[in-house]
């Protein structure tokens, strides 16, 4: 995405710092991070353990606020917001995908996907259901609407989680090690899905420690010790679908 200037800025970090007080010591988890992410980018954020990935993701997800610096999400300054204002912002502008899916137990796919809309009074029960069904179709689960979370495979559960992240038509999808619990084949299936969403114009930020995944994204940010070490645009995006096809069949299903 070299023509970023013409694109809309979805996320802007200005020298974001996050300090944690642990006893008498102060841990600097983020030591001044600045970047812009434009609409339609698929960004991977990588780094070793302890490099500040989770802390950064919590900032981006409006779950936490910077000690210093500014964060604008879709043009809105997040640092000065109250807790419930941030809750509303998450509800309208962010879709989360977690490593361990985090579906509601014994709950159908549709109800799981509709959950974010429960906290948006603009939707009534029928509209919630319709939106949930549409999102499930988009992730290829149109035939599993009423399956309960405990009747599904890991891949299916992660698809439900992705559908849940899509249902509110967010400004950005934040994925935290979204393939971390899946086998190789299913991981590639997820990447195929993320690439499909990327093609459809979604903005995606994918946190991972797996360097291979960077090949399939449009941009890669490397963190070390709470700072950006590298921020490169990937001009040679690989097709996850091709990689999936190249996998030996029945390898680890």
């Amino acid at each position: 995405m070299n023509n970023g200037q013409e694109k809309k800025v979805v996320i802007e970090l200005q020298d974001v710092r996050r300090d944690f007080k642990v006893g008498d010591e102060v841990v600097h988890a983020l030591r001044g991070v600045s970047f812009k992410i434009y609409e339609g980018e698929f960004v991977t954020i990588m780094g070793t353990s302890g490099s500040g990935k989770s802390t950064l993701l919590n900032q981006l997800g409006c779950l936490d606020t910077p000690t210093k610096g500014e964060y604008y999400l879709d043009g809105v300054a997040v640092r000065t917001m109250s807790k419930s204002q941030r809750a509303k912002l998450r509800n309208r502008k962010i879709g989360f995908v977690f490593q361990n899916y985090n579906l509601l137990a014994k709950t159908t796919a549709v109800d799981n996907v509709a959950l974010p809309l429960m906290y948006n009074s603009k939707y009534n029960a029928r509209e919630r259901r319709e939106a949930a069904i549409e999102a499930l179709k988009a992730v290829g689960l149109g035939d599993r609407l009423e399956h309960k979370s405990n009747q599904m495979s890991g891949g299916q559960m992660q698809r439900v989680a992705i559908a849940r992240a899509l249902v509110n038509d967010p400004a950005v999808i934040l994925a935290d090690e979204a393939t971390g619990n899946l086998d190789t084949r299913t991981s590639f299936e997820m990447l195929v899905l993320f690439q499909k969403l990327h093609k459809e114009g979604r903005t995606i930020i994918f946190v991972t420690h797996n360097p291979d995944i960077a090949k399939y994204s449009s941009r890669n940010i490397m963190l070390r010790d709470g700072k950006i070490r590298e921020d490169v645009v990937n001009t040679n995006i690989q097709s996850a679908a091709d990689a999936l096809a190249a996998l030996p069949v029945n390898q680890d299903d």
């Binding site: 919590n58 997800g61 779950l63 936490d64 807790k83 419930s84 809750a87 509303k88 998450r90 509800n91 309208r92 989360f96 977690f98 985090n102 509601l104 137990a105 014994k106 709950t107 959950l115 974010p116 429960m118 906290y119 948006n120 849940r164 509110n168």
Partner: protein, 394 residues
């Protein structure tokens, strides 16, 4: 709500306290109400607006002296009451004697009540056979009597006693009337084991005494009871030449007063029982709080998820508050049903019990308050969780 269903058994266990507590409150109130009603009914069956005058001062809390040892109620008092009555309709002095009553080979022990003609009107007793004695009988001290159904059964089997002579304490009395059967009163006293005779006869021929053991009157209406008591007090104080400020040497009790005393005693007992039952509701509320705290801990991850997808603190606390209200209200409804079944059971074994309508409303209100009150702290705790920590919780 799905959480309640998913944990049906546990929710039921935490409801159990509420169910039992509410049922206990309901049955206590029902028994209180029922007993009050039946005691009132019983007291009003004892006669119309009865006022009782006894010799000797009324003593509060202290030991009451034996009334028979006090001889302050005399014939002159009776006459003064009759001559001055305004708020009083009927008056009957009372002298009693207990002893053996014999007819032929049969005998029974009973009490003879020496009364005036008006006694039957005061007590609302009716004759089944024969007549009551007359003014003339009273003037002469005639040895005539009216007997109750128990005496008829004990002495006469199935024959008609009217016109027969019985002996009471060796003195012959002619039976001139038979009272209708009245049965036992609520404290198990046989009201048919009585002989009523002219008070003059019992005073002179049986007891050889010049004073009454009591005087029974009836007020014109229940509302006039107080006026009647004032009137009687004034007459007796004047008759006994009691100076102003000095204590009465007699005591007056009314049926209305007795009813009030009984009612308020029943109310006190009911309140004590209900408060005891209500304490079990407090314990039940703590049980609900406990289960809600466990639920919050167990569902920390779910709370974290809900918060990350946009639930505000208030959304989370409402979710848990509604849950605890649901548990306590469901428990309340089941408790009301159980209380109702217990009331039916109480009625079936002859205990008077009737559920006052307001106690159901109170139960609902109390359960809602318990739900909110004891759900508040767990709900607050859930709402104050940090979503970052919560979603990582295992």
């Amino acid at each position: 709500m799905t959480a309640i269903a998913n944990n049906a058994f546990r929710s039921f266990l935490s409801m159990l306290g509420i169910i039992i507590g509410v049922a206990a409150v309901i049955i206590m109130m029902a028994i209180g109400q029922g007993s009050k009603q039946s005691i009132r009914a019983e007291i009003s069956k004892m006669g119309t607006n009865i006022i009782n005058i006894r010799p000797g001062a009324r003593q509060r809390g202290g030991v009451r002296l034996d009334p028979s040892a006090m001889q302050t109620l005399k014939v002159e008092d009776y006459e003064a009451i009759v001559n001055n009555k305004k708020y009083v309709t009927y008056v009957s002095p009372e002298v009693t004697a207990s002893g053996q009553c014999i007819f032929g080979a049969n005998n029974t022990s009973t009490t003879m009540y020496g009364e005036s003609l008006e006694y039957l009107d005061i007590k609302q007793w009716e004759l089944k056979d024969g007549d009551c004695f007359t003014d003339d009988d009273i003037r002469k001290g005639a040895k005539v009597c009216v007997i109750g159904q128990t005496i008829v059964e004990e002495l006469f089997s199935n024959t008609n006693p009217v016109g027969k002579n019985i002996r009471f304490k060796s003195i012959p009395f002619k039976v001139i009337g038979v009272l209708k059967e009245k049965g036992e009163n609520s404290w198990g006293m046989d009201q048919d084991n009585v002989i009523v005779a002219p008070y003059t006869t019992v005073m002179k021929r049986l007891n050889a005494q010049t004073y009454f053991s009591s005087i029974t009157c009836s007020a014109i209406t229940e509302e006039m009871t107080d006026n009647a008591i004032d009137e009687l007090t004034a007459v007796l104080r004047e008759n006994h030449k009691i100076r102003e400020g000095a204590d009465d040497d007699f005591s007056i009790n009314s049926q209305a007063e007795m009813m009030d005393t009984m009612s308020s005693t029943m109310d006190t007992i009911t309140v004590i029982l209900v408060v005891a039952a209500a304490f079990s509701l407090l314990v039940a509320g703590i049980g609900i709080m406990n289960i809600m705290l466990v639920s919050v801990t167990e569902r920390t991850k779910e709370i974290g998820l809900r918060m990350s997808v946009g639930a505000r603190g208030i959304d989370i606390s409402n979710q848990f508050l509604i849950e605890s209200i649901m548990i306590s209200l469901t428990g309340g409804i089941l408790g009301i049903l159980l209380g109702w079944l217990l009331t039916l059971a109480a009625n079936a074994i002859g205990l008077p019990a009737s559920i006052p309508a307001w106690s159901i409303l109170v139960s609902f209100a109390v359960c809602t308050v318990i739900g909110v009150g004891f759900g508040y702290f767990p709900a607050k705790k859930a709402a104050s969780l940090d979503p970052i920590e919560a979603i990582r919780y295992e």
